[in-house]
Symmetry: C2
Subunit: 227 residues, 2 copies
DNA sequence: CTAAAATTTTAGACGTGTCTAAAAAATAGT
DNA sequence: ACTATTTTTTAGACACGTCTAAAATTTTAG
């Protein structure tokens, strides 16, 4: 998969990354409006960009039918995700930033163009498998190293136990809340009770009990014990 | 000196930096053509940019009279130079890049916006005073830490001795040549002979003798021994 | 001092990326 | 099936940064 040499603008890269992220979570064909909302821009701007990226053979897209990444587009998305997550590890592990402070900076650093830099950074960091929020880091070929099973807390049954393996990194405020209750990657959690009427959870974590709303629980991912 | 919040484009930053660099070496008022050549662009593009930066109060500029930096502009230039040189130290010290490989990557990294990142990077690197080419690194206030005396080899007399304190970092090829002859920062040098007709030098370095053209000698800077 | 040459600016154009408003197509409701 | 609504695209505009060609200004030389 020889990419390289094609150099995309930061805008183009951000669109590619957003389409990749939406493809992972939502259905496989991404609507113009969904992408517009994600990019905080207007649908008309999105349409223009979809045309351009389609011309560059990074997207499959047909009028009114939504879009998806081509293999070439996906490879580029993965290289950006790789850089983003490696830089987040650097910021947290080496420069002592908090996990709530790194996303914005990584949004800039992910656009630095140098395969050599990325690979040497990875080696310098000791070939980390996950970023500070538990998200997996693809290797130079865009392959993830068989990620651990991760299940949303919201989808677990009463009585389940597990270890926190990931958290949603979308909002600094949420991560700061997790700081406050001292929840980290690796924390042990047990679901004591699940309140069906509002979806909130009572959980035990290191001898304390905490109440999580459904929204919070949906953003925390654990590896359940097989007990 | 509160700057911040004013965010410049990468283009604007590159112009500011180039004007700063030219102000250091050449006279204090920079001509449009000189800047155009440095930026590898056309004089008309330069004129447009000079107007814009003057509107932002980063330049003093009057039609046909050339330009110079305002204090605010100079502060911005220094913050970019600071970032460039700190990242170069990172690349060489931590990621084992050669001093001939770092300039291009630092050209990108110098535009990352986060004062906190810059300051933490500086601490992580152990508050280096110079970059891998011997150029001084300004502190967070834009102040250089009383740099060592640095004299161009070309301007030294026969018989002078000194330690290499800096080299021109403008071209990777030149730096690779220095690699080949094993000249580094810290190398001890003695000028054995100075050929007046072509300005070339015969120098001794660690028990070897090497011939330098005037062009090469002008790009190497030493701290002379006071003997 | 004046004409030629060099430098610098202006005028007009183009590509990128964005926007608003209007048109076109798809979807939903009756 | 036929509107009404929503989604998406098109049309036209604007800011940015660049270019070429032409005009204006400054500098150099006779
Ligand atoms: Mn992130
Ligand atoms: Mn992350
Ligand atoms: Mn450099
Ligand atoms: Mn340097």
């Amino acid at each position: 998969m020889q990419l390289e040499k094609r150099q995309l603008s930061q805008s183009e890269e951000n669109y590619i990354k957003a389409i990749y992220a939406l493809s992972e979570t939502c259905e496989d064909t991404i609507s113009t409006n969904l992408l517009a909302e994600r990019m905080s821009t207007k649908a008309s701007s999105v349409t223009d960009m979809l045309k351009k990226l389609t011309d560059k053979e990074l997207l499959t897209y047909q009028k009114y039918q939504g879009c998806g990444l081509t293999p070439k587009g996906r490879a580029i998305a993965l290289s950006i995700v790789r850089k983003h997550r490696l830089w987040e590890v650097f910021l947290v592990d080496k420069l002592q930033f908090g996990w709530d402070e790194v996303h914005e900076i990584a949004e800039q650093l992910e656009h630095i163009q140098s395969t050599q830099l990325t690979n040497r950074l990875e080696a310098f960091l000791g070939y980390p498998k996950v970023d500070p929020h538990g998200d997996p880091i693809p290797n130079d070929e865009g392959v993830f190293d068989t990620p651990a099973v991760r299940v949303s807390l919201a989808s677990c049954e009463t009585g389940s136990k597990g270890i926190v393996m990931g958290v949603d990194d979308g909002s600094p405020e949420f991560l700061q809340y997790l700081n406050k209750i001292d929840l980290k990657l690796g924390s042990e959690i047990e679901i004591l009770e699940k309140l069906s009427f509002d979806g909130s959870l009572l959980i035990a974590m290191e001898k304390r009990t905490i109440q999580f709303s459904h929204v919070v629980a949906a953003r925390i991912f654990i590896q359940p014990y097989q007990s």
